[in-house]
Symmetry: C2
Amino acid sequence: MSLTFFTPGPAQLYPTFEQHLQSFVSGQLGSISHRSQQYRDLHKFTVDQLRILLNVPDTHAIMFLGSASEAWERILFSCVELESFHLVNGSFSKKFCEYSTALNKYAHKFEKPMGEGFTADEIEVPEYAELICVTHNETSSGVQMPVSEIHKLKQKNPDKLIAVDMVSSAPYPDLDYNLIDTAFFSVQKAFGLPAGLGVWIVSEKCLEKARQIKNQYSIGAHNDLPTLWKNALNNETPATPNVMGIYLLGKIAEDFNKIGVGEIRKATEQKAALIYDFVEKTSGFSSFVKEVQNRSQTVVVANVEASSADIIKKIKEKGMVIGSGYGEFKGSQLRIANFPATSYDAVEELVQELGNI
Amino acid sequence: MSLTFFTPGPAQLYPTFEQHLQSFVSGQLGSISHRSQQYRDLHKFTVDQLRILLNVPDTHAIMFLGSASEAWERILFSCVELESFHLVNGSFSKKFCEYSTALNKYAHKFEKPMGEGFTADEIEVPEYAELICVTHNETSSGVQMPVSEIHKLKQKNPDKLIAVDMVSSAPYPDLDYNLIDTAFFSVQKAFGLPAGLGVWIVSEKCLEKARQIKNQYSIGAHNDLPTLWKNALNNETPATPNVMGIYLLGKIAEDFNKIGVGEIRKATEQKAALIYDFVEKTSGFSSFVKEVQNRSQTVVVANVEASSADIIKKIKEKGMVIGSGYGEFKGSQLRIANFPATSYDAVEELVQELGNI
């Protein structure tokens, strides 16, 4: 039986995935040299499609890493000489913060319990922090920070760099890259691809900062920003990249562009409304995130009175896979991904079956 | 027209690749959680098959990274507090050395011109070097260091750690992991898979060293050895891994094991003999590497009197792709990969067509 995955990543593969994979195989693209014009054209196609999709200006490069977690490290190496500042409200924002400590930086943090969000007004960025690290969508708790609050935070702190983790939400957040210095995501979430590729969007300002830090400290050796940037100018990467992942990502981004990112965002909100409406109105279910503006549009987290394992098992019998809560909430919550790969009809079917349990 | 790739990576895909890819897709493995038992079983299968293939004892973990270049960085972070030592005789051994400098370590080196190799007897390891970095197969020049010389080098220096880059030769070198502390490779060479995955074999001794270094220095944040190791014990990875690459690698390793690694090594030598024989006996061609024991069995580099670009073009018209020389040798050399994906018959056809030019 073919299953439909509503898991927050790896997730349901995008419907056109198999067709693009077939083109990759029949074109023998797994064997082409990563120093050939054929590769550079493929690379440029993906960058161009992402630039259109996410409205990324030429001041920012779009680069490829092994994962979004690698982006955490490369951003901290490149943008922080001594001190970073982190908004922490879940497992992934916490890991970003811990990476800073592991690189021997001083990591300031403003921490809230899981399920709670942040507004720009309440955030005081420490004087010597060089970088503000924000998680647009906390995959562990289903909390999002509204894009308007992220923009406001940068406007309040124009002299700091700001990094946005949009791992499990891109291309949903409409970030203004005149304000955002760097952002990143991975492909196994809303892009509906197998895991193994991270995308790093990064500005000239970050590059300058990396060059300046390098005079005194290590900024890493593998995929260090100046080397990545130099290669990106030539549509290449320093090491042999995940050519298959880059190709497939370009094709999916092209599919998204044909639909239009506005349509994709609207559809995301419509499907999210369907899930939240169900969760709010159905006995035995409630939304973990109380503040409406902090509710993620791409990963819905619901408290459940019954055992989450039982619900997951019963729903799987209907051909659908949903995620458990994260960490301590494993048994008492469900996480339901709402990515472009799952249609409105599929979400309708899911909430109907959840209601039948 | 379908092409046969004799390029040194990305290379010809292994004949069973498409069939395994189809199983991956039909099993919906691109959507499974990397924290599920299904993933842990898949992960363990690949590790077990590699352990059999490469004869890796339980003192060593087998772990997955984004690329072999990432392994350079992780090894230097984990095994070098202050000083490393590098045998440099080409572009890739040089990059390994430069990574050490970029991490603010002191990188000693013993350097020879491209095309020349090393013997254990001539190598004096500096007193304070903690790690000896050896490239078994220098992809840029086609020089290999005999495994017996690598083993001898460690026996001469039992108190130093030794790292072996076998990116473009594994599973050919029969390393003795009672002597070798760490080794690594990537999958787009002799394993005939698309790029995007590095494999890192690493001993408990390296783990101890990493823990000791961590008391005083950063050992990196992303995929740091203690965290990788802890996850590997549970057949998991710290971040979402390249599940597709790990699955395919396990299947190809299983295919290799069915043939037997001894057979694969013998076939590699037979095919290499065919190419070297042609290169030595044909006017207009000569082997770049003069010392027979230093001639790579997996990447043959030939000097050519005609323009390499012309030869490459003419051979492509016959449905075969060969590589140009590396860097300054681009125009005057050919690089011909000899990996398991290309059969004896295919190599025979290649040398025949090269002879017809």
